[in-house]
Protein backbone atom coordinates (compact mmCIF):
# COMPACT_ATOMS: atom_id res chain seq x y z
CA UNK A 1 0.00 0.00 0.00
CA UNK A 2 1.00 3.64 0.14
CA UNK A 3 3.49 3.93 2.92
CA UNK A 4 6.30 6.46 2.67
CA UNK A 5 9.91 5.75 3.49
CA UNK A 6 12.24 8.71 3.60
CA UNK A 7 15.73 7.31 3.89
CA UNK A 8 18.62 9.62 4.78
CA UNK A 9 17.43 12.33 2.42
CA UNK A 10 19.75 15.32 2.27
CA UNK A 11 19.45 18.58 0.37
CA UNK A 12 21.79 21.48 -0.14
CA UNK A 13 21.15 24.63 -2.11
CA UNK A 14 24.67 25.47 -3.19
CA UNK A 15 26.60 25.83 0.04
CA UNK A 16 23.48 26.19 2.17
CA UNK A 17 22.32 22.97 3.79
CA UNK A 18 18.53 22.75 3.95
CA UNK A 19 18.23 19.09 5.02
CA UNK A 20 20.84 16.90 6.69
CA UNK A 21 20.16 13.18 6.28
CA UNK A 22 16.52 13.12 7.29
CA UNK A 23 14.89 9.73 7.80
CA UNK A 24 11.20 9.21 8.42
CA UNK A 25 8.71 6.41 7.93
CA UNK A 26 5.01 7.01 7.43
CA UNK A 27 2.84 3.90 7.64
CA UNK A 28 -0.04 3.30 5.27
CA UNK A 29 -2.97 5.46 6.30
CA UNK A 30 -0.97 7.26 8.94
CA UNK A 31 -1.09 11.02 9.50
CA UNK A 32 2.33 12.47 10.26
CA UNK A 33 2.86 16.17 10.91
CA UNK A 34 6.15 17.89 10.16
CA UNK A 35 6.40 20.57 12.78
CA UNK A 36 9.09 23.19 13.03
CA UNK A 37 9.92 26.88 12.91
CA UNK A 38 10.17 28.86 9.69
CA UNK A 39 13.10 27.91 7.48
CA UNK A 40 13.78 24.53 9.09
CA UNK A 41 13.30 22.62 5.80
CA UNK A 42 9.69 21.40 6.01
CA UNK A 43 8.68 22.57 2.56
CA UNK A 44 11.94 21.31 1.08
CA UNK A 45 11.33 17.81 2.46
CA UNK A 46 7.75 17.79 1.19
CA UNK A 47 8.85 18.92 -2.27
CA UNK A 48 11.43 16.16 -2.42
CA UNK A 49 8.75 13.59 -1.60
CA UNK A 50 6.55 15.13 -4.31
CA UNK A 51 9.37 15.00 -6.86
CA UNK A 52 9.50 18.77 -7.34
CA UNK A 53 12.98 18.98 -5.90
CA UNK A 54 15.81 16.50 -6.35
CA UNK A 55 17.53 15.37 -3.17
CA UNK A 56 21.29 15.70 -2.89
CA UNK A 57 21.35 12.27 -1.29
CA UNK A 58 19.18 9.47 0.08
CA UNK A 59 16.04 7.95 -1.35
CA UNK A 60 12.27 8.19 -1.14
CA UNK A 61 10.16 5.03 -1.36
CA UNK A 62 6.39 5.30 -1.77
CA UNK A 63 4.32 2.12 -1.60
CA UNK A 64 7.41 -0.05 -2.04
CA UNK A 65 8.59 1.78 -5.17
CA UNK A 66 11.73 3.91 -5.17
CA UNK A 67 10.28 7.07 -6.71
CA UNK A 68 13.61 8.81 -7.20
CA UNK A 69 13.38 8.62 -10.98
CA UNK A 70 9.61 9.16 -11.26
CA UNK A 71 8.05 12.49 -12.22
CA UNK A 72 5.49 13.95 -9.79
CA UNK A 73 2.51 12.75 -11.83
CA UNK A 74 3.62 9.11 -11.54
CA UNK A 75 4.01 9.10 -7.75
CA UNK A 76 0.35 8.72 -6.81
CA UNK A 77 0.31 11.88 -4.73
CA UNK A 78 -1.67 15.05 -4.38
CA UNK A 79 -0.33 18.20 -2.83
CA UNK A 80 -1.48 21.43 -1.26
CA UNK A 81 1.07 24.15 -1.93
CA UNK A 82 2.12 26.65 0.70
CA UNK A 83 1.19 29.52 -1.62
CA UNK A 84 -1.91 27.65 -2.91
CA UNK A 85 -0.96 27.63 -6.63
CA UNK A 86 -4.61 27.87 -7.65
CA UNK A 87 -4.85 28.20 -11.43
CA UNK A 88 -5.95 31.79 -12.13
CA UNK A 89 -7.39 30.99 -15.56
CA UNK A 90 -9.86 28.38 -14.32
CA UNK A 91 -12.98 28.75 -12.24
CA UNK A 92 -13.05 27.24 -8.77
CA UNK A 93 -14.92 24.19 -10.07
CA UNK A 94 -12.39 23.64 -12.87
CA UNK A 95 -9.55 24.02 -10.40
CA UNK A 96 -10.95 21.42 -8.04
CA UNK A 97 -11.68 19.03 -10.91
CA UNK A 98 -8.31 19.51 -12.61
CA UNK A 99 -6.66 16.35 -11.33
CA UNK A 100 -9.69 14.21 -12.12
CA UNK A 101 -9.95 15.61 -15.62
CA UNK A 102 -6.28 14.86 -16.18
CA UNK A 103 -7.07 11.28 -15.20
CA UNK A 104 -9.81 11.30 -17.86
CA UNK A 105 -12.52 10.38 -15.36
CA UNK A 106 -16.14 10.50 -16.59
CA UNK A 107 -17.76 13.91 -16.45
CA UNK A 108 -20.40 12.87 -13.89
CA UNK A 109 -17.78 11.50 -11.55
CA UNK A 110 -15.73 14.70 -11.80
CA UNK A 111 -18.80 16.77 -11.01
CA UNK A 112 -19.68 14.57 -8.05
CA UNK A 113 -16.20 14.66 -6.55
CA UNK A 114 -15.91 18.41 -7.08
CA UNK A 115 -19.22 18.88 -5.31
CA UNK A 116 -18.16 16.71 -2.40
CA UNK A 117 -14.78 18.35 -1.94
CA UNK A 118 -16.28 21.84 -2.23
CA UNK A 119 -18.95 21.03 0.31
CA UNK A 120 -16.44 19.77 2.81
CA UNK A 121 -14.34 22.91 2.46
CA UNK A 122 -17.51 25.10 2.61
CA UNK A 123 -16.91 26.65 -0.81
CA UNK A 124 -19.88 25.21 -2.70
CA UNK A 125 -21.23 28.72 -3.29
CA UNK A 126 -17.97 29.77 -4.95
CA UNK A 127 -17.76 27.09 -7.64
CA UNK A 128 -18.38 29.52 -10.54
CA UNK A 129 -16.01 32.19 -9.29
CA UNK A 130 -12.60 33.03 -10.69
CA UNK A 131 -9.70 32.81 -8.24
CA UNK A 132 -8.92 36.51 -8.70
CA UNK A 133 -12.21 37.18 -6.90
CA UNK A 134 -11.47 35.05 -3.83
CA UNK A 135 -10.02 35.92 -0.47
CA UNK A 136 -6.77 34.31 0.61
CA UNK A 137 -8.54 31.86 2.89
CA UNK A 138 -11.00 30.90 0.16
CA UNK A 139 -8.18 30.34 -2.30
CA UNK A 140 -6.44 28.15 0.23
CA UNK A 141 -9.57 26.05 0.62
CA UNK A 142 -9.78 25.65 -3.16
CA UNK A 143 -6.23 24.29 -3.06
CA UNK A 144 -7.17 21.80 -0.34
CA UNK A 145 -10.33 20.76 -2.20
CA UNK A 146 -8.33 20.24 -5.40
CA UNK A 147 -6.04 17.84 -3.56
CA UNK A 148 -8.84 15.98 -1.77
CA UNK A 149 -10.92 15.61 -4.94
CA UNK A 150 -8.49 13.16 -6.55
CA UNK A 151 -8.65 10.91 -3.46
CA UNK A 152 -4.92 10.28 -3.55
CA UNK A 153 -3.15 7.43 -1.83
CA UNK A 154 -0.64 9.92 -0.46
CA UNK A 155 -1.52 13.48 0.44
CA UNK A 156 1.13 16.13 0.99
CA UNK A 157 -0.05 19.35 2.61
CA UNK A 158 2.04 22.44 3.21
CA UNK A 159 0.38 24.59 5.86
CA UNK A 160 -3.07 24.11 4.32
CA UNK A 161 -5.01 25.93 7.01
CA UNK A 162 -2.59 28.75 7.78
CA UNK A 163 -4.77 31.47 6.30
CA UNK A 164 -8.10 30.64 7.92
CA UNK A 165 -9.58 32.37 10.93
CA UNK A 166 -9.31 30.50 14.22
CA UNK A 167 -12.87 29.17 14.29
CA UNK A 168 -12.90 27.96 10.69
CA UNK A 169 -9.49 26.39 11.17
CA UNK A 170 -10.79 24.43 14.14
CA UNK A 171 -13.75 23.15 12.11
CA UNK A 172 -11.63 22.31 9.06
CA UNK A 173 -9.17 20.49 11.26
CA UNK A 174 -11.83 18.18 12.58
CA UNK A 175 -13.35 17.62 9.13
CA UNK A 176 -9.99 16.96 7.54
CA UNK A 177 -9.08 14.45 10.20
CA UNK A 178 -12.36 12.59 9.81
CA UNK A 179 -12.23 12.48 6.01
CA UNK A 180 -8.61 11.38 5.79
CA UNK A 181 -9.08 8.73 8.43
CA UNK A 182 -12.12 7.35 6.66
CA UNK A 183 -10.36 7.27 3.31
CA UNK A 184 -7.22 5.80 4.83
CA UNK A 185 -5.07 8.45 3.16
CA UNK A 186 -1.39 8.48 4.04
CA UNK A 187 -0.73 12.09 4.94
CA UNK A 188 2.37 14.20 5.42
CA UNK A 189 1.29 17.50 6.85
CA UNK A 190 3.54 20.51 7.24
CA UNK A 191 2.74 23.08 9.88
CA UNK A 192 4.44 25.43 12.27
CA UNK A 193 1.36 25.52 14.46
CA UNK A 194 1.91 23.10 17.31
CA UNK A 195 -1.74 22.86 18.38
CA UNK A 196 -2.63 21.90 14.81
CA UNK A 197 0.04 19.21 14.80
CA UNK A 198 -1.00 17.92 18.20
CA UNK A 199 -4.66 17.81 17.26
CA UNK A 200 -4.34 16.20 13.85
CA UNK A 201 -1.38 13.92 13.76
CA UNK A 202 -0.91 10.29 14.69
CA UNK A 203 2.75 11.12 15.01
CA UNK A 204 4.69 14.38 14.94
CA UNK A 205 8.17 14.85 13.53
CA UNK A 206 9.70 17.97 15.05
CA UNK A 207 12.22 19.57 12.71
CA UNK A 208 14.87 22.11 13.50
CA UNK A 209 17.66 23.40 11.30
CA UNK A 210 17.32 20.68 8.67
CA UNK A 211 17.19 17.70 11.03
CA UNK A 212 14.33 15.82 12.67
CA UNK A 213 14.84 16.27 16.38
CA UNK A 214 12.18 13.82 17.51
CA UNK A 215 9.45 11.63 16.10
CA UNK A 216 6.63 10.32 18.20
CA UNK A 217 3.00 10.43 19.24
CA UNK A 218 1.84 13.93 20.25
CA UNK A 219 1.39 13.02 23.88
CA UNK A 220 4.78 11.32 24.12
CA UNK A 221 6.63 14.20 22.51
CA UNK A 222 4.87 16.66 24.75
CA UNK A 223 5.54 14.74 27.94
CA UNK A 224 9.05 13.52 27.17
CA UNK A 225 10.79 15.91 24.73
CA UNK A 226 14.04 14.44 23.43
CA UNK A 227 15.78 17.77 23.22
CA UNK A 228 15.53 21.16 24.80
CA UNK A 229 14.37 22.57 21.47
CA UNK A 230 11.41 20.20 21.26
CA UNK A 231 10.40 21.02 24.82
CA UNK A 232 10.53 24.71 24.13
CA UNK A 233 8.73 24.49 20.79
CA UNK A 234 5.75 22.46 22.00
CA UNK A 235 3.30 23.78 24.50
CA UNK A 236 1.90 27.14 25.38
CA UNK A 237 3.31 28.77 27.39
CA UNK A 238 6.60 27.14 26.34
CA UNK A 239 8.46 24.85 28.70
CA UNK A 240 10.55 26.61 31.35
CA UNK A 241 14.23 25.84 31.62
CA UNK A 242 16.08 26.24 34.90
CA UNK A 243 19.81 25.76 35.05
CA UNK A 244 20.94 24.25 38.32
CA UNK A 245 23.79 22.23 39.71
CA UNK A 246 23.37 18.79 41.19
CA UNK A 247 25.46 16.84 43.62
CA UNK A 248 24.75 13.54 45.27
CA UNK A 249 21.87 12.98 42.87
CA UNK A 250 20.00 16.08 43.98
CA UNK A 251 19.66 19.39 42.21
CA UNK A 252 19.22 22.52 44.28
CA UNK A 253 16.99 25.40 43.23
CA UNK A 254 17.13 27.98 45.98
CA UNK A 255 16.35 26.04 49.11
CA UNK A 256 14.41 23.43 47.19
CA UNK A 257 16.00 20.16 46.08
CA UNK A 258 14.94 17.68 43.40
CA UNK A 259 16.22 14.26 42.39
CA UNK A 260 18.50 14.81 39.37
CA UNK A 261 19.65 12.20 36.84
CA UNK A 262 23.31 13.23 36.99
CA UNK A 263 25.67 15.37 39.02
CA UNK A 264 27.13 18.65 37.85
CA UNK A 265 25.30 21.22 35.76
CA UNK A 266 21.84 20.07 34.67
CA UNK A 267 18.88 21.83 33.12
CA UNK A 268 15.40 21.30 34.47
CA UNK A 269 12.53 21.45 31.98
CA UNK A 270 9.32 22.36 33.74
CA UNK A 271 5.96 22.94 32.08
CA UNK A 272 3.79 25.62 33.62
CA UNK A 273 0.94 23.23 34.31
CA UNK A 274 3.21 20.70 36.02
CA UNK A 275 3.86 22.87 39.06
CA UNK A 276 1.26 23.83 41.66
CA UNK A 277 1.49 27.24 43.36
CA UNK A 278 1.85 26.82 47.11
CA UNK A 279 2.92 28.99 50.01
CA UNK A 280 6.22 30.86 49.88
CA UNK A 281 7.75 28.55 52.47
CA UNK A 282 7.71 25.42 50.28
CA UNK A 283 8.57 24.46 46.72
CA UNK A 284 10.65 26.39 44.21
CA UNK A 285 10.85 30.06 45.24
CA UNK A 286 9.20 32.11 42.47
CA UNK A 287 9.04 35.93 42.30
CA UNK A 288 5.89 36.91 40.42
CA UNK A 289 6.28 40.00 38.24
CA UNK A 290 3.16 40.00 36.03
CA UNK A 291 -0.23 38.34 36.50
CA UNK A 292 -2.36 37.86 33.36
CA UNK A 293 -5.90 36.51 33.74
CA UNK A 294 -6.45 34.16 30.78
CA UNK A 295 -9.96 33.10 31.71
CA UNK A 296 -9.33 29.44 32.39
CA UNK A 297 -6.27 30.24 34.49
CA UNK A 298 -3.88 32.97 35.58
CA UNK A 299 -0.62 33.22 33.67
CA UNK A 300 2.20 34.20 36.00
CA UNK A 301 5.43 35.61 34.65
CA UNK A 302 8.39 36.09 36.92
CA UNK A 303 11.74 34.67 37.89
CA UNK A 304 13.40 31.98 39.95
CA UNK A 305 16.54 33.64 41.17
CA UNK A 306 17.59 35.39 37.97
CA UNK A 307 16.12 32.81 35.58
CA UNK A 308 12.80 33.73 33.90
CA UNK A 309 9.84 31.40 34.38
CA UNK A 310 6.15 31.19 33.53
CA UNK A 311 3.64 29.37 35.69
CA UNK A 312 -0.12 29.08 35.87
CA UNK A 313 -2.45 29.33 38.80
CA UNK A 314 -6.19 28.70 39.28
CA UNK A 315 -8.29 31.65 38.07
CA UNK A 316 -9.43 32.58 41.54
CA UNK A 317 -6.00 32.43 43.21
CA UNK A 318 -5.10 35.57 45.13
CA UNK A 319 -1.65 36.29 43.75
CA UNK A 320 -0.43 39.86 43.41
CA UNK A 321 2.43 41.06 41.22
CA UNK A 322 5.59 41.36 43.29
CA UNK A 323 4.66 38.50 45.61
CA UNK A 324 6.91 35.54 46.25
CA UNK A 325 5.24 32.17 46.09
CA UNK A 326 6.41 28.60 45.99
CA UNK A 327 5.96 26.14 43.12
CA UNK A 328 5.66 22.47 43.90
CA UNK A 329 6.60 20.47 40.80
CA UNK A 330 5.19 17.06 39.99
CA UNK A 331 8.31 14.88 40.12
CA UNK A 332 6.89 12.41 37.58
CA UNK A 333 6.49 15.08 34.92
CA UNK A 334 9.88 16.72 34.92
CA UNK A 335 12.36 16.70 32.07
CA UNK A 336 16.11 16.99 32.50
CA UNK A 337 18.49 18.13 29.81
CA UNK A 338 22.21 18.29 29.37
CA UNK A 339 22.93 22.04 29.29
CA UNK A 340 25.76 21.52 26.80
CA UNK A 341 24.12 19.31 24.15
CA UNK A 342 20.47 20.07 24.91
CA UNK A 343 19.73 16.32 24.92
CA UNK A 344 17.35 14.73 27.36
CA UNK A 345 18.86 13.08 30.41
CA UNK A 346 17.14 9.96 31.64
CA UNK A 347 16.99 9.25 35.35
CA UNK A 348 19.48 6.55 36.19
Amino acid sequence: MADILIDRVAKSFGAARALAEVSLQVADGEFVALLGPSGCGKTTLLRIVAGLETASGGRVVIGGRDVGALPPRARGIAMVFQNYAVFPHMTVADNIGFGLRMQKRPVEEVARQVGRAAEMLRISHLLDRWPARLSGGQRQRVAVARALAVQPAVLLMDEPLSNLDALLRLEMRADLKAVLREAGTTTLYVTHDQTEAMGLADRIAVMHGGVIEQIGAPGAIYARPATRFVGGFLGSPPMNFLLCSASGGRAAIGDFALAAPQDGAVMLGLRAEDAVPVGAAEGIPFDVRVVEPMGAHLLLTGAVGDQPLRAIAPPDAAIAPGARIGLRPDPARLSWFDPETGRRLEAA
Binding site: A50, G51, L52, P71, P72, R73, I77, A78, M79, F81, N83, A85, F87, P88, H89, M90, T91, F98, G99, M102, Q103, R129, W130, P131, A132, R133, R146, V150
Partner: protein, 272 residues
Protein backbone atom coordinates in the same frame (compact mmCIF):
# COMPACT_ATOMS: atom_id res chain seq x y z
CA UNK B 1 -15.15 52.78 -15.65
CA UNK B 2 -15.45 53.54 -12.00
CA UNK B 3 -19.06 54.56 -11.30
CA UNK B 4 -17.94 56.65 -8.34
CA UNK B 5 -16.19 59.21 -10.58
CA UNK B 6 -17.04 62.82 -9.91
CA UNK B 7 -18.38 64.83 -12.88
CA UNK B 8 -15.08 66.71 -13.21
CA UNK B 9 -13.10 63.50 -13.36
CA UNK B 10 -15.62 62.05 -15.78
CA UNK B 11 -15.16 65.07 -18.07
CA UNK B 12 -11.38 64.74 -17.86
CA UNK B 13 -11.59 61.03 -18.56
CA UNK B 14 -13.68 61.42 -21.72
CA UNK B 15 -11.62 64.38 -22.93
CA UNK B 16 -8.53 62.26 -22.67
CA UNK B 17 -10.24 59.40 -24.48
CA UNK B 18 -11.32 61.78 -27.24
CA UNK B 19 -7.83 63.25 -27.62
CA UNK B 20 -6.28 59.82 -27.84
CA UNK B 21 -8.84 58.67 -30.36
CA UNK B 22 -8.29 61.76 -32.50
CA UNK B 23 -4.53 61.31 -32.25
CA UNK B 24 -4.79 57.81 -33.67
CA UNK B 25 -7.81 58.02 -35.94
CA UNK B 26 -7.51 61.45 -37.56
CA UNK B 27 -4.46 60.62 -39.71
CA UNK B 28 -6.04 57.35 -40.77
CA UNK B 29 -9.26 59.18 -41.56
CA UNK B 30 -7.47 61.79 -43.64
CA UNK B 31 -5.59 59.12 -45.57
CA UNK B 32 -8.87 57.30 -46.16
CA UNK B 33 -10.44 60.55 -47.36
CA UNK B 34 -7.56 61.01 -49.77
CA UNK B 35 -8.03 57.51 -51.04
CA UNK B 36 -11.82 57.53 -51.38
CA UNK B 37 -12.73 61.21 -51.55
CA UNK B 38 -12.50 61.71 -55.27
CA UNK B 39 -9.89 63.59 -57.28
CA UNK B 40 -10.94 67.09 -56.21
CA UNK B 41 -10.81 66.31 -52.48
CA UNK B 42 -7.15 65.36 -52.62
CA UNK B 43 -6.10 68.87 -53.53
CA UNK B 44 -8.78 70.71 -51.61
CA UNK B 45 -7.59 73.01 -48.80
CA UNK B 46 -8.62 73.40 -46.05
CA UNK B 47 -9.62 69.79 -45.81
CA UNK B 48 -13.23 69.01 -45.04
CA UNK B 49 -13.77 66.23 -42.56
CA UNK B 50 -16.63 64.70 -44.52
CA UNK B 51 -16.17 63.36 -48.02
CA UNK B 52 -17.74 65.53 -50.70
CA UNK B 53 -18.05 62.54 -52.95
CA UNK B 54 -17.32 58.91 -52.35
CA UNK B 55 -15.42 57.12 -55.05
CA UNK B 56 -13.71 53.78 -55.09
CA UNK B 57 -12.11 54.59 -58.43
CA UNK B 58 -8.66 55.42 -57.10
CA UNK B 59 -8.58 52.35 -54.95
CA UNK B 60 -9.85 50.17 -57.73
CA UNK B 61 -7.39 51.68 -60.15
CA UNK B 62 -4.56 51.26 -57.67
CA UNK B 63 -5.44 47.64 -56.94
CA UNK B 64 -5.62 46.95 -60.63
CA UNK B 65 -2.08 48.19 -61.17
CA UNK B 66 0.18 45.39 -62.20
CA UNK B 67 1.97 43.91 -59.15
CA UNK B 68 0.01 45.55 -56.33
CA UNK B 69 -2.04 42.48 -55.50
CA UNK B 70 1.02 40.28 -55.66
CA UNK B 71 3.03 42.63 -53.46
CA UNK B 72 0.19 42.71 -50.96
CA UNK B 73 0.11 38.93 -50.89
CA UNK B 74 3.90 38.79 -50.44
CA UNK B 75 3.67 41.18 -47.51
CA UNK B 76 0.98 39.08 -45.88
CA UNK B 77 3.04 35.92 -46.35
CA UNK B 78 6.22 37.53 -45.03
CA UNK B 79 4.43 38.99 -42.03
CA UNK B 80 2.60 35.77 -41.23
CA UNK B 81 5.77 33.68 -41.44
CA UNK B 82 7.59 36.24 -39.31
CA UNK B 83 4.88 36.10 -36.65
CA UNK B 84 4.89 32.32 -36.56
CA UNK B 85 8.67 31.97 -36.52
CA UNK B 86 9.24 34.73 -33.95
CA UNK B 87 6.74 33.24 -31.51
CA UNK B 88 7.72 29.63 -32.22
CA UNK B 89 11.44 30.34 -31.77
CA UNK B 90 11.28 33.23 -29.33
CA UNK B 91 8.85 31.80 -26.79
CA UNK B 92 10.83 28.58 -26.09
CA UNK B 93 14.03 30.62 -25.76
CA UNK B 94 12.27 33.02 -23.42
CA UNK B 95 10.88 30.09 -21.45
CA UNK B 96 14.32 28.52 -21.09
CA UNK B 97 15.80 31.82 -19.94
CA UNK B 98 12.98 32.32 -17.45
CA UNK B 99 12.88 28.84 -15.93
CA UNK B 100 16.35 27.37 -16.06
CA UNK B 101 19.60 28.69 -14.71
CA UNK B 102 22.21 27.55 -17.19
CA UNK B 103 25.78 28.49 -17.89
CA UNK B 104 25.93 31.24 -20.48
CA UNK B 105 22.37 32.49 -20.05
CA UNK B 106 23.54 36.09 -19.87
CA UNK B 107 25.90 35.65 -22.78
CA UNK B 108 23.04 34.18 -24.77
CA UNK B 109 20.82 37.16 -24.01
CA UNK B 110 23.58 39.53 -25.06
CA UNK B 111 24.06 37.57 -28.25
CA UNK B 112 20.36 37.76 -29.05
CA UNK B 113 20.43 41.52 -28.56
CA UNK B 114 23.62 41.86 -30.59
CA UNK B 115 21.81 40.88 -33.77
CA UNK B 116 20.16 44.27 -33.50
CA UNK B 117 23.50 46.01 -33.10
CA UNK B 118 24.48 45.44 -36.75
CA UNK B 119 23.08 47.97 -39.16
CA UNK B 120 20.60 46.39 -41.51
CA UNK B 121 22.63 47.44 -44.49
CA UNK B 122 25.57 45.37 -43.30
CA UNK B 123 23.34 42.34 -42.79
CA UNK B 124 21.17 42.65 -45.86
CA UNK B 125 23.79 42.74 -48.60
CA UNK B 126 25.75 39.61 -47.62
CA UNK B 127 22.42 37.94 -46.95
CA UNK B 128 21.28 38.75 -50.47
CA UNK B 129 24.36 36.98 -51.80
CA UNK B 130 23.79 34.03 -49.52
CA UNK B 131 20.10 33.84 -50.38
CA UNK B 132 20.88 33.84 -54.09
CA UNK B 133 23.13 30.85 -53.49
CA UNK B 134 20.56 28.79 -51.62
CA UNK B 135 17.63 29.91 -53.75
CA UNK B 136 15.82 31.97 -51.15
CA UNK B 137 16.42 35.24 -52.97
CA UNK B 138 13.42 37.12 -54.29
CA UNK B 139 10.90 35.18 -52.21
CA UNK B 140 8.69 36.29 -49.31
CA UNK B 141 10.14 33.46 -47.21
CA UNK B 142 13.63 34.89 -47.51
CA UNK B 143 12.27 38.26 -46.44
CA UNK B 144 10.43 36.59 -43.57
CA UNK B 145 13.68 35.00 -42.34
CA UNK B 146 15.31 38.41 -42.29
CA UNK B 147 12.34 39.94 -40.48
CA UNK B 148 12.36 37.11 -37.98
CA UNK B 149 15.93 38.03 -37.10
CA UNK B 150 14.75 41.57 -36.49
CA UNK B 151 11.76 40.54 -34.39
CA UNK B 152 13.37 37.68 -32.45
CA UNK B 153 15.34 39.66 -29.83
CA UNK B 154 12.16 41.39 -28.81
CA UNK B 155 10.25 38.13 -28.80
CA UNK B 156 12.85 36.41 -26.60
CA UNK B 157 13.13 39.19 -24.05
CA UNK B 158 9.40 39.87 -23.81
CA UNK B 159 8.48 36.21 -23.44
CA UNK B 160 11.23 35.76 -20.87
CA UNK B 161 9.76 38.38 -18.57
CA UNK B 162 6.34 37.04 -19.42
CA UNK B 163 7.17 33.52 -18.26
CA UNK B 164 9.05 34.84 -15.25
CA UNK B 165 5.82 36.48 -14.17
CA UNK B 166 3.98 33.14 -14.13
CA UNK B 167 4.67 31.45 -10.79
CA UNK B 168 6.56 28.19 -11.11
CA UNK B 169 4.25 26.66 -8.50
CA UNK B 170 1.37 26.79 -10.97
CA UNK B 171 3.32 24.54 -13.30
CA UNK B 172 4.38 22.32 -10.42
CA UNK B 173 0.77 21.98 -9.34
CA UNK B 174 -0.09 20.90 -12.87
CA UNK B 175 2.69 18.28 -12.74
CA UNK B 176 1.47 16.95 -9.40
CA UNK B 177 -2.10 16.69 -10.67
CA UNK B 178 -1.20 14.57 -13.66
CA UNK B 179 0.37 16.75 -16.37
CA UNK B 180 3.55 16.02 -18.24
CA UNK B 181 5.75 19.10 -18.62
CA UNK B 182 4.42 19.63 -22.15
CA UNK B 183 0.80 19.29 -21.03
CA UNK B 184 1.47 21.64 -18.13
CA UNK B 185 2.85 24.20 -20.55
CA UNK B 186 -0.16 24.12 -22.83
CA UNK B 187 -2.80 23.85 -20.11
CA UNK B 188 -1.42 26.29 -17.60
CA UNK B 189 1.45 28.43 -18.84
CA UNK B 190 0.18 29.16 -22.35
CA UNK B 191 -3.27 30.42 -21.35
CA UNK B 192 -1.71 32.72 -18.78
CA UNK B 193 0.91 33.92 -21.24
CA UNK B 194 -1.59 34.70 -24.01
CA UNK B 195 -1.72 38.49 -23.58
CA UNK B 196 2.06 38.73 -23.75
CA UNK B 197 2.24 36.31 -26.67
CA UNK B 198 -0.36 38.37 -28.50
CA UNK B 199 1.72 41.50 -27.94
CA UNK B 200 4.79 39.67 -29.20
CA UNK B 201 2.89 38.58 -32.30
CA UNK B 202 1.67 42.12 -32.96
CA UNK B 203 5.16 43.49 -32.68
CA UNK B 204 6.57 40.88 -35.02
CA UNK B 205 3.78 41.58 -37.50
CA UNK B 206 4.34 45.32 -37.43
CA UNK B 207 8.10 44.96 -37.78
CA UNK B 208 7.70 42.78 -40.83
CA UNK B 209 4.89 44.79 -42.37
CA UNK B 210 6.73 48.11 -42.08
CA UNK B 211 10.24 46.97 -42.89
CA UNK B 212 11.34 48.28 -46.26
CA UNK B 213 15.11 48.24 -46.58
CA UNK B 214 15.85 44.54 -46.28
CA UNK B 215 12.73 43.75 -48.26
CA UNK B 216 13.95 45.99 -51.08
CA UNK B 217 17.41 44.47 -51.11
CA UNK B 218 16.27 40.86 -50.91
CA UNK B 219 13.65 40.98 -53.66
CA UNK B 220 13.37 42.06 -57.26
CA UNK B 221 10.07 40.92 -58.66
CA UNK B 222 8.48 39.41 -55.56
CA UNK B 223 8.39 42.73 -53.70
CA UNK B 224 6.56 43.15 -50.43
CA UNK B 225 4.02 45.96 -50.40
CA UNK B 226 6.31 48.47 -48.67
CA UNK B 227 9.19 47.75 -51.01
CA UNK B 228 6.87 47.91 -54.00
CA UNK B 229 5.27 51.18 -52.93
CA UNK B 230 8.65 52.74 -52.20
CA UNK B 231 9.75 51.93 -55.72
CA UNK B 232 6.51 52.94 -57.46
CA UNK B 233 4.79 55.67 -55.49
CA UNK B 234 7.21 58.51 -56.07
CA UNK B 235 6.11 58.52 -59.66
CA UNK B 236 2.40 58.12 -58.93
CA UNK B 237 -0.35 60.75 -58.64
CA UNK B 238 -1.23 61.90 -55.14
CA UNK B 239 -4.52 60.02 -54.82
CA UNK B 240 -2.80 56.75 -55.72
CA UNK B 241 -0.32 57.37 -52.93
CA UNK B 242 -3.20 57.76 -50.52
CA UNK B 243 -4.69 54.52 -51.72
CA UNK B 244 -1.33 52.81 -51.18
CA UNK B 245 -0.96 54.41 -47.76
CA UNK B 246 -4.35 53.14 -46.66
CA UNK B 247 -3.54 49.67 -47.87
CA UNK B 248 -0.40 49.81 -45.71
CA UNK B 249 -2.24 50.90 -42.60
CA UNK B 250 -5.26 48.66 -42.72
CA UNK B 251 -3.77 45.18 -42.26
CA UNK B 252 -1.89 46.24 -39.12
CA UNK B 253 -5.08 47.63 -37.66
CA UNK B 254 -7.01 44.53 -38.62
CA UNK B 255 -4.33 42.28 -37.13
CA UNK B 256 -4.34 44.17 -33.85
CA UNK B 257 -8.12 43.88 -33.82
CA UNK B 258 -7.92 40.17 -34.46
CA UNK B 259 -5.63 39.49 -31.50
CA UNK B 260 -7.03 42.11 -29.13
CA UNK B 261 -9.20 39.54 -27.42
CA UNK B 262 -6.06 37.78 -26.21
CA UNK B 263 -4.22 41.02 -25.62
CA UNK B 264 -6.66 41.98 -22.89
CA UNK B 265 -7.35 38.60 -21.35
CA UNK B 266 -7.28 38.97 -17.61
CA UNK B 267 -8.73 35.83 -16.14
CA UNK B 268 -11.80 36.35 -14.04
CA UNK B 269 -11.52 40.12 -14.16
CA UNK B 270 -12.82 40.92 -17.62
CA UNK B 271 -13.92 37.38 -18.46
CA UNK B 272 -12.79 36.05 -21.78
Amino acid sequence: MNPAMTPVRRLLFWTLVAVLLLWVLLPIWLVAMGAFGGRAAVFQWPKSLLPASLSFDHMAAFLAVEGVANAFLNSVIAAAVTVVLSVALGAPAGYALARYAFRGADAFKLLVLLTRAFPLAILALPLAVGFIRIGLYDSPFGVALMHTVLALPFAVLVTQSLFMGIPRELEEAAWVFGCSPVQAFFRVVMPLALPGLAATAIFAFVISWNEVFAASVLTVRERTLTAYLLAVLSESPLHTRFAGGLLLILPSVLFVFAVRKWLFTVWGISGR
